[in-house]
């Protein structure tokens, strides 16, 4: 970046340069950022602004808050809001517990192939979420492994497992899909834990649960919080998993946006739900970023 170094070289008060002008060449630094920011503004910010505008523009014409009051009165919206929040919170809790246990074993009770397993988890992250729901259909669906086992064993015509179309199915799928997002930062944090510290604790007679509680958990807390924050936002935004369960009675804010806009053609209503959804996710994501900046910011500053 030509501009930036030239500018830095010219910065600062200099009293006695003998009247020689500081030569600045090329484009000043901030200008280089203009093209990508402008592009993003056009295809991301401008459309978002139009969504907000549309939420105040009922189909009847003019501008009013009618779409908002309408949407807020609908039972379906309130259910979707509640579903979104509790499923996301529950999934996050599940991911944290599961991810902590699994990462703990990979990091501290190593077994052959453990490295390969963490690679597998990386691959897992590259696949779309709805594949999990698709797989769960074959495992717990009305025709599927679990019910098949039951019918094979008992001779009954149908199995007892039927929760996929309920919010619990969504919860299970989200816990499965998002757990790796918790494990990754945790594994990174665990690799920083000094093994000498663990050995010292063990030599002092501390048993494993105590070591986990008093040595490992405090060390992992920041990454646990960061991973949890990210998963919470991703769960709030999750669409594919909910769509693929095909449950009409399980709607969340994203699926409500979809059904209002595409199925009902109610754009102002969809925009209202969208604004609520964005406000919820972005504020939580802001908190998450602040948290991450707090935990890693010091190190990054020192490195700069």
């Amino acid at each position: 970046m030509a501009s930036a170094s030239a500018e830095r070289a010219g910065a600062g008060p200099r009293a006695d340069t003998g009247g020689r002008p500081v030569r600045r060449r090329g484009v000043p630094g901030p200008l280089w950022a203009v093209p990508p920011v402008a592009a993003l503004g056009l295809v991301f910010l401008y459309p978002l602004a139009l969504v907000v505008k549309q939420s105040f523009s009922p189909d009847a014409g003019g501008h009013s808050t009618r779409p908002w009051s309408q949407v807020f009165q609908e039972q379906s919206f309130r259910t979707a809001l509640w579903n979104t929040v509790w499923i996301a919170a529950g999934s996050t809790a599940g991911c944290l517990v599961l991810g902590f246990v699994l990462a703990l074993v990979i990091a501290f009770v190593p077994f052959p192939g453990g490295k390969l397993l963490s690679r597998f988890i990386d691959v897992f992250l590259a696949f779309p979420s709805f594949l999990i729901t698709l797989a769960l259909l074959f495992v717990y669906g009305t025709v599927g492994m679990a019910n098949g086992l039951w019918t094979d064993a008992t001779g009954a015509s149908s199995g007892p497992v039927d929760f996929l179309h309920t919010p619990w199915g969504v919860l299970l799928a989200e816990v499965t899909y998002f757990t790796p997002f918790v494990m990754r930062p945790l594994l990174a944090a665990f690799s920083q834990v000094d093994t000498a510290q663990l050995e010292a604790a063990a030599s002092l007679g501390a048993r494993a649960p105590r070591i986990v509680r008093q040595v490992i958990l405090p060390e992992a807390l920041p990454s646990l919080a960061a991973g949890g924050g990210l998963v919470l936002v991703l769960c709030l935004n999750e669409f594919g998993i909910v769509l693929f369960t095909g449950a009409k009675n399980t709607t969340t804010l994203p699926t409500l946006v979809y059904s209002k806009a595409i199925l009902d053609g109610d754009y102002p209503g969809a925009c209202v739900v969208a604004v609520v959804s964005v406000a919820l996710s972005v504020s939580l994501y802001g908190l998450y970023r602040a948290l991450v900046a707090r935990t890693t910011g010091g190190a990054r500053r020192a490195g700069a």
Binding site: M1, F124, N237, G240, L253, P254
Partner: protein
């Protein structure tokens, strides 16, 4: 080592695999098995067949695959260009401007993809930009969604890049553009290909925004999979899902190969 007794270690591993296998390994196994089956009423699927894959070989499904590949290619190239450029420009900035650009380029991660789709639908169905019903709007949506990841991975790679390289080059008389081209980009190449691979994979699996936007003649693979399962053709959906996974993995693998070759050059 945390657990010192052999029994304790084995217990920990048992807990691990009891949790890990059904949750993470089983789903993929199940999808692969189902893609070869015509019926699943017992514990295991029955009546093995290749019919679903033969169906993928022609017609809509193949079209969906090429659509997905093309979309992902365009989106990841565009995202790398915009996100990489932004990351390079932001690196030299300090203070408020830097924070604003950082926030701006990670925002698409926080906004639900469905809303990104909706917003593009709202914005580009009206003048001055009429893109609704074209392939462009799908590619645009994918680009918006994956640019954030490109920005973050390039930014992280830049932060890791030792400034001594850049400074040595400058001390040897190389202008910033020359340093960028001959030193920084080659050193960033592994990170750039990794970022491209990530963007490609994300775009291949994108469903939410696509569902809001796709025109009938530009139907990517995930939409096709949803269509199949929605009309009850679960086994065909499974076959398509396997195709999706395999093609994503292949691209990631190729990108990984590029990466290792670059590091050993």
């Amino acid at each position: 080592m945390l657990v010192h007794s052999r029994a304790g270690r084995i217990a920990a591993w048992v807990v691990f695999f009891v949790l890990f296998l059904p949750l993470f390994a089983l789903p993929f196994l199940v999808i692969v098995m189902a893609s070869f089956a015509t019926n699943w009423s017992g514990a295991f699927p029955s009546h093995p067949t290749f019919a679903h894959y033969r169906a993928v070989g022609g017609g809509d499904s193949l079209h969906a695959l090429t659509t997905s590949l093309l979309t992902a290619l365009c989106a990841s190239v565009l995202a790398l260009l915009v996100g990489g450029w932004a990351a390079l420009a932001a690196e030299k900035l300090r203070g408020g401007t830097r924070k604003v650009i950082d926030a701006l380029f990670v925002l698409p991660v926080a906004v639900p993809s469905v809303v990104v789709g909706l917003s593009l639908l709202v914005a580009f169905s009206q003048p001055p930009f009429l893109l609704n019903g074209t392939a462009k709007i799908v590619i645009l949506a994918h680009t918006v969604l994956v640019t954030a990841f490109a920005y973050q991975s390039v930014g992280a790679a830049l932060a890791r890049l030792d400034p001594a390289y850049e400074q040595s080059a400058a001390s040897l008389g190389a202008r910033p553009a020359y340093v960028l081209w001959r030193v920084r980009l080659p050193l960033l190449l592994p990170s750039l290909t990794a970022a491209a691979g990530l963007c490609f994979a994300l775009s291949m699996g994108e469903l939410s925004a696509t569902m809001m936007l796709y025109p009938p003649d530009w139907m990517p693979l995930p939409v096709q999979i949803y269509g199949a399962t929605n009309r009850g053709s679960l086994f065909e959906g499974a076959a398509l899902a396997v195709v999706l996974m395999v093609s994503t993995l292949l691209v990631l693998l190729v990108m990984g190969r590029v990466r290792t070759r670059a590091t050993y050059r």
